[in-house]
């Protein structure tokens, strides 16, 4: 590191101990310029960051062991009771099961559709920009707003599905009373919103495959299916691993779709962890339950989060 040239004052040749105070300070400052600047710039950031990281981090665990509404009577230590309730009460277990079901179903559908669409878009087709835009746009919409609009589609009597059934002469279906159908609606809606990012990722992955691989294989007499099977699929595998592992973090926190479409109903059949946590905190006034639920969800996603950071810092998908 080259410093700006400074005129060396005569005092510089004197030993340090014989210098005056200000001069010694000036030299010290010059020697440690980078460290001083780093700490001056970084300290406010670090203090702020610690306040909003360490404090919630520690209190999250503390709150999860108490019974507390957030205001009113002081917290009461209840030990592991909150956790035990999450893991034994059927109501909460249902939320776990639904979250797992939604997360896995959404992720698998989303990823497989994204691969197929990316493969199609990677060919020489006219109007690629339009298709890509059409697939990407749903992900930019507010989940809360569009869930509201989708709610209109399944309204009995005037919704699209009701109309189609009536046209076919079939009896109308009341979506809100059918857990299986509402689950499907939630999954389809979430896939609709979430698939675009995957398409873009896979397109990038496909375009980063060197064309020489294909040329070499073609020279060796490989047909198109073989090209796909022996070149494209293996080269997409790391990306797929990445998309699946990190995608679960997002899909497991599904919330808006449930809040706007079902509120967890009918009979708790579509309840998910995020919605249960929200209800514990604000409807049931139990921050302890909410916090312990959040911690359980966080622990379930721990492995994904760690892999996510590894990918971020290592800058590659496989080690």
């Amino acid at each position: 590191m080259i410093e700006a040239p400074v005129r060396i004052p005569p005092a510089a040749i004197l030993p340090e101990s014989r210098l005056s105070g200000p001069e010694r300070f000036r030299r010290w400052r010059q020697r440690n310029r980078q460290a001083i600047e780093a700490w001056v710039l970084m300290l406010p950031l670090l203090l702020y960051f610690s306040l909003f990281f360490l404090f919630p981090f520690v209190s999250s665990f503390l709150i999860s062991f108490v019974k507390w509404a957030g205001m009113g009577p002081p917290p009461v230590w209840v030990g592991l009771t909150n956790y035990v309730r999450w893991l034994t009460d059927l109501y909460y277990l249902q939320a776990f099961a639904n979250t797992a079901l939604f997360a896995v179903a959404i992720l698998l559908l989303q990823t497989s559709i994204a691969i197929l669409v990316a493969l199609m878009l990677n060919t020489k087709v006219w109007g690629r920009g339009f298709y890509r835009t059409a697939w990407f746009i749903p992900g930019l919409t507010a989940a809360s707003v569009m869930a509201n609009i989708v709610g209109l589609f399944i309204t009995p009597g005037t919704g699209i599905f009701s109309l189609m059934l009536t046209k076919l002469g079939l009896p109308d279906v009341i979506f809100y009373m059918r857990p299986d159908l509402m689950r499907m609606v939630i999954i389809v809606y979430s896939v609709w919103r979430g698939v675009g990012g995957g398409v873009i990722l896979y397109l990038a992955a496909l375009q980063s495959i060197h064309p020489e691989f294909y040329e070499a294989a073609r020279v060796d007499g490989a047909n198109r299916v073989q090209l796909l099977r022996y070149i494209t699929v293996p080269l997409l595998a790391p990306m797929t691993l990445f998309v699946l592992v990190t995608g679960i973090i997002g899909t497991a926190q599904i919330f808006e779709a449930v809040q706007f479409l079902t509120k967890g109903g009918p009979q708790n059949q579509t309840n998910v962890l995020m919605f249960a946590i929200y209800q514990e905190a604000f409807s049931n006034g139990s921050l302890g339950m909410a916090s312990s639920g959040a911690i359980l969800l966080g622990l379930l996603l721990l492995v994904s989060s760690i892999i996510n950071i590894r990918v971020m810092t290592k800058g590659r998908i496989q080690d």
């Binding site: 298709y131 919409t141 809360s144 509201n148 397109l203 916090s291 800058g315």
Partner: protein, 329 residues
């Protein structure tokens, strides 16, 4: 994107041989794209016709009675919060579209300025300055991402509610409601964004130190280096930061739902829109038994449009943002 675009074969051959083999591909692509756009299409069409247009033909509400009355009413400042009657309770809550938009834009601007500063400074300090503890600080910040964000949600809410000496709280944070239903709750969390700092650090790592050294020889100080040398080179990263911040905050629903549900004056668009359709319908004196479809669609269009327009203008950067600087290394 360009690799698949190859030079076309001569026009004569392409005219002679129609690519029949590609027809299924086109059918699939076009149909699937239309399906993806369908909910948005219904929303746009439904917002321009009358309620009857929608009820008569909900699967494709072609606006026979075309009007932009819904837009006019919703966009008129104050129009939606002066009504009485059935929705008086809601109407008093001032779910006013312009207000929601201004709230959201204010919040976005605030976060752009502050996180822009913290990210670029954090990235610079962690990338270009040599100091003891650099790796330690970096690891410390990254470690916050080990646990999913959901874990911080409840305690941060409690922190807002129990903030000392705010909203009637005493010095121990008891007695009042803290920052709940107040502006700070929407403005003071997440101002140091580890992901953005990381993004800036990675990009700055790729910029040689020579530029800065040359400037220092000419007598530039740290801030001059940062602003005159690095900032211009970091423009693409800033665009990604801008897009991420804008889309995330514009669509932000959960945190505002937690902290400002009780105050319509502070709500951002994605949270406040639920009340808009109702208040607008009341202001237009629609019969209360008729769901205000037109207003719901109009509010939907207005809420969704900004992010989509942003995408259409800044497509390249959106793609970059999704791919992440991380994956490219």
């Amino acid at each position: 994107m360009d690799r698949a675009v190859q030079l076309p074969t001569t026009s004569r051959t392409s005219r002679r041989k129609f690519p029949w083999g590609k027809v299924p591909l086109y059918v699939i692509l076009i149909v699937s794209s239309l399906i993806m756009l369908y909910p948005l299409l219904v929303m746009v069409l439904g917002s321009m016709g009358s309620n009857d247009d929608y009820i008569n033909n909900p699967n494709l509400p072609i606006p026979y009675h075309f009007s932009i009355a819904y837009y006019q009413l919703i966009m008129t400042p104050g129009a939606t919060n002066q009504s009485g009657g059935l929705y008086a309770g809601v109407a008093k809550s001032q779910a006013d579209f312009l207000r929601l938009v201004l709230n959201t834009l204010f919040r976005i601007t605030w976060y752009l300025v502050i996180t822009g500063y913290t990210s670029v400074v954090g990235g610079y300090v962690l990338s270009k300055l040599r100091w003891k503890g650099r790796e330690g600080v970096f690891t410390y910040m990254l470690s916050s991402m080990t646990l999913p964000g959901i874990i911080y949600l409840i305690p941060t809410y409690v922190m807002m509610a129990r903030w000392p000496l705010a909203g009637g709280n005493d010095i121990f944070g008891q007695g009042g409601s803290g920052f709940i239903n107040q502006w700070p709750a929407l403005l003071i969390t997440g101002l140091v964004n580890v992901y953005f700092i990381f993004m800036f650090r990675q990009t700055m790592n790729a910029i040689p130190i020579d530029f800065e050294e040359a400037a220092r020889v000419d007598g530039a100080n740290t801030f001059q280096c940062l602003f005159n040398i690095y900032l211009p080179m970091l423009k693409p990263v800033f665009v990604v930061l801008f897009i991420n911040t804008f889309v995330t905050l514009w669509n932000d629903y959960i945190w505002p739902l937690f902290v400002v549900s009780g105050n319509h004056d502070l709500m951002p668009v994605a949270l406040g829109f639920q009340f808009l359709a109702m208040t607008a319908a009341a202001a237009a004196h629609l019969p209360p038994n008729l769901p205000p479809y037109g207003f719901q669609f109009t509010v939907g269009v207005l809420t969704v449009a900004p992010c989509i327009l942003l995408f259409l203008f800044l497509q390249r950067y959106f793609v970059e943002g999704v791919q992440g600087f991380a994956i490219k290394g």
